[in-house]
């Protein structure tokens, strides 16, 4: 982790709901890989189709996940914010973002380089397993929310 990173920042990362309670050695290794990032409103954290090589751990702010096409205006299908993580495309080939991610409130985040994280997880399979146990519920919840959206719960 870069020298400008304060102990406060490291502490905020350790207390992040996604990471809290992980094996301390694993947590330290993740914190060492992390880089502090800030995004202004309307700045992009990810572009659909672009190489996906980071995981964001969101400490503050809000990010809109958008899908769109050339002939269709961008549609926000979900927002994520403090206490959540963003990005799973770095984990599995072909390592490309599946959506646009745009800050809709100033974002404070930890960015972890995907390649380094993949190496860390495969060198320490027990950490890799812990990590997947954290990550799967996030994916499952997003899938369930998408299903609920499809039900169109506001239809009468």
């Amino acid at each position: 982790m870069s020298s400008r990173t304060t102990e406060d920042f490291r502490e905020a990362v350790r207390r992040h709901p996604f990471l809290e309670g992980l094996d301390p050695a694993f947590l330290d290794a993740m914190v060492r890989l992390g880089v502090e990032r800030r995004f202004r409103v309307d700045e992009h954290l990810a572009r659909e189709g672009a190489p996906a090589n980071v995981l964001y751990i969101l400490l503050d702010g809000k990010v809109a996940l958008e899908v769109g096409a050339a002939d269709h205006p961008a549609l926000t299908v979900q927002t994520v914010g403090a206490g959540e993580v963003l990005g799973w495309s770095w984990l599995v080939a072909p390592y490309r973002w599946r959506f646009d991610a745009r800050a809709v409130k100033p974002v404070h985040a930890v960015e972890i380089e995907g390649g380094a994280l993949r190496r860390l997880l495969s060198e320490h399979p027990d950490w890799g397993y812990q990590f997947l146990l954290r990550f799967l519920p996030v994916l499952a919840e997003r899938l369930e929310n998408t299903r609920i959206q499809l039900l169109d719960i506001h239809a009468r």
Partner: protein, 288 residues
Amino acid sequence: MLADVAPDPTSSAAAGHPLAPLPYRVRAVATETADTTTLTIEPRSTRSVPAPAPGQFVMLYAFGVGESPIGVSAHRADGTLVHTVRNVGKVTSALARLTPGDTVGVRGPYGRGWPLQEARGQDLVIVAGGLGLPPLRPVLYEVFENRDRYGRVEVIYGARTPKDLIYYEELQSWRRRSDLRIQVTVDAAGRDWYGDVGVVTTRLPDVRFDGSRTSAFICGPEIMMRLTAQAVVARGVRPEATWVSMERNMKCAVALCGHCQFGPTFVCRDGPVLSYRALEPFLAVKEV
């Protein structure tokens, strides 16, 4: 609907009839969304219906068309009533066409509203989906008037898109208040929306309350109420302190016709506000 039961309130035969609506004058009509209108009505004579409790409904009678159960979204001591109506069919489209000066019939109020007495001293979690907000608005007014009666008050309001949000200006003023927290979310939005996107249940993890001493009030489409009730119960709110308002279609409003029966429950008499404890076995059933 009830055109065959409810006599025209302008006729003398109406006087004294138990189902006779009282004539009200439309004072104001406000467009909320493409299909939703808010009507402010006041008694035409010295007679008005008794003051409704938060969550109760009235039967609104569109002359020559029929009547529909409609929740009360505000009322004043002078007898003024405020209703927000979504135009879905025969009666509601007639109500949506009303203009200031027109007459509408009112009978009621009916049903059991939100159990505010039982909720005293507790945290309140209020979740509204779409047109579920109007019947919950009187609860917010009660909270503002008697703030010390309740603990933390958390409100989540969800709509399909930003265009479907109702009471937009009032929402802004509620968001500036420090005595409650309101989160507004939509299912999908364009780039001009900087708020939350996601179904109402996605906002719940952010809500702070003490489950063992919390009352949850939920109103919206049935699927939304079921999922939200399950989620708040999973967070420790007792099923008997989790309340939903069932807007099952009804005709007579006085537990005679059976139109609104839901299992053993008559929505018009026992509800519309019912506990999740009582409803849980039926809410998952597609047709009761």
